[in-house]
């Protein structure tokens, strides 16, 4: 059986066929999970974020204009939901960040060359950033998006994205220098 196009699955969903939407989810869940994983390692929160992304897509499917591919549209929604999650983490999770800081700092000195430790160190350093800085640096450095793509995904102006990326890099360097000094 030939694979249905995104367009026909969207039309079927809009006509009331939820099975068609399930196929869309199957097609794009890997993309959404991989982006959300850049922002949280907590399994429950990850599942919540991904569900939120697809529920928003389902609710707003009528507004999808087909000017860009569906993948781009769903990535944009995922970016927005991840940003909202970052902001709520910032308000509610300071205690957890602090505990993680101590744990990583204890092991950082003897394990810098280890790739896993490097990733943990970066995750810890990223957690210290403001949500907007973290979002920009994650999209540009980890997801390897260009400034233009980041502008498109976040809806911020080009100069805003550049300024936030610069600030995020400076802040990360300061955080890592302080960590190295200990």
């Amino acid at each position: 059986m030939p694979e249905q196009s995104d367009d026909s699955l969207i039309r079927a969903t809009l006509a009331g066929d939820d099975g068609a939407f399930a196929q869309i989810v199957t097609r794009y869940k890997r993309r959404v999970f991989s982006l959300a994983l850049r922002f949280t390692q907590d399994r429950d929160e990850l599942d919540d974020i991904c569900q939120e992304v697809f529920i928003k897509a389902y609710d707003n499917l009528k507004k999808f204009r087909r000017e860009a591919p569906f993948e781009h549209w769903i990535t944009k929604i995922a970016t927005r939901v991840c940003y909202d999650a970052l902001r709520s983490q910032r308000h509610g999770n300071n205690q957890v960040t602090g505990e993680r800081t101590l744990e990583v700092q204890d092991h950082a000195a003897d394990a810098r060359n280890n790739a896993r430790e490097a990733r943990e160190l970066l995750a810890w350093a990223l957690a210290q950033l403001k949500p907007d800085e973290r979002l920009v640096i994650t999209l540009m450095e980890l997801e390897e998006k260009s400034v233009k793509e980041t502008v498109d995904l976040t809806g911020w102006s080009e100069s805003n994205v550049k300024v936030r990326a610069h600030r995020a890099r400076q802040a990360l360097k300061r955080i890592l220098e302080v960590d190295h000094g200990r």
Binding site: V25, F33, L37, I55, R119, K173, L176
Partner: protein, 104 residues
């Protein structure tokens, strides 16, 4: 100094890019969980909608009763527009006269 910080940051980014954490266990049956949540939301929405429709006759009866009550207990109004205007005007003139604001 700044150069070494840049290099260090570059190495950390490269390490993070090189290997993505695995979420395949969470992806299993994700569609089922999601579609169940969507169906649940639909049921909830439609039950509110149904409840609102079922309440329509009750609201209509309340509106009817309040209309009847207001018609029954409010003072009768004159159907004559001129009389209603002059009634009001007479009150104003009397008040002005008593307050000494009247010219005549």
């Amino acid at each position: 100094m700044a150069d070494s910080a840049d290099k260090k940051l570059g190495r950390l980014f490269a390490a993070a890019r090189a290997e993505q954490a695995d979420a395949s266990a969470l992806e299993v049956h994700f569609e089922t969980r999601l579609m169940a949540r969507i169906a649940e939301r639909k049921t909830l929405n439609s039950s509110w909608f149904l409840l609102a429709w079922r309440m329509v006759p009750a609201f209509a009866v309340i509106a009817l009763i309040s209309a009847v009550c207001s018609a029954a207990f409010s003072p009768s109004r004159s159907g004559d527009l001129f009389a209603s205007i002059t009634n009001g005007y007479e009150d104003v003139v009397a008040t002005s006269y008593l307050a000494g604001e009247c010219d005549e």
